[in-house]
Symmetry: C2
Subunit: 130 residues, 2 copies
DNA sequence: ATCGTTGCAAACTCTTTGCAGGATT
DNA sequence: AATCCTGCAAAGAGTTTGCAACGAT
């Protein structure tokens, strides 16, 4: 027997603060970065809540995951067009790159079929260079 | 006061089996994959030993890390020329791609400096397609 | 006989989950 | 008032480490 209606999400200051944090940052954030950003506004917010809400936002498709090699995932506001990322090796921050400048057709072993790709650029960001 | 001599590494069947596993696989292996491959030869080998020896091999620069977005690292025999990797989304295996076909100069935000890049292709490998 | 190496179990980090109290509608 | 959400603490996954026994030299 099915439930009559689905869960009604509620607005909380924790969620609001997290939404603001993502808008303000304008770059992919790790759970820890979210926690830091949000702590100023919502004292005592727990990391568990950050994770839970990140996952909720992903179910809502308001956030998407940005997985980086060898590091905890970052999350960014969903719906942007295909793009890749830049990571500063000095401060560790992840930045969004415009568009996808990758056009070459990669040579694959015989019988392999490509369906997607990921591309990361590493270097130093403007803040860390100045 | 400095030690008179450095540690003398010893050959063990565990290390030998691990070296063979990497040579035979001819693709980057995760610690779990190494464990599986080696178990047939060395019954009772522990995951801790696999990790310890992987780290030792990396200090010897015989292995290098291959970090993949959102997954445990793989390791491959060091000293190969610049190349990238393909991951099969069906079986999860990682394969080496020949050379680097990436030539485009990526447009970075003002003031950013690029020093390196990573590139991953995802798809289905020949084994999983047949 | 040394002393590097191993297996086991405990410790650690990152992330998820159970639960009881607190907050939103 | 109903029930969603939160904080805390415990539980899981992946990796590292302490320790006593083992084994290569």
């Amino acid at each position: 027997m099915a439930k009559t209606h689905t869960a009604q999400p509620r607005n909380t200051k924790q969620k609001d603060a997290m939404r603001s944090a993502f808008h303000l940052a304008n770059r992919p954030l790790s759970p820890e970065e979210v926690l830091e950003a949000v702590r100023e506004e919502v004292f005592g917010i727990s990391l568990a809540t950050v994770y839970r809400n990140i996952n909720a936002f992903m179910e809502d498709e308001w956030l998407t995951t940005v997985e980086i090699p060898g590091q905890p995932a970052r999350y960014e506001v969903a719906g942007k067009e295909h793009h890749h990322h830049f990571q500063c090796t000095a401060c560790g921050k992840l930045y969004e790159l415009e568009g996808c400048t990758f056009h070459g057709k990669t040579k694959l072993p015989r019988g392999f079929l490509a369906t997607s790709h990921e591309y990361f650029v590493y270097g130093v960001c403007a803040d860390c260079r100045s």
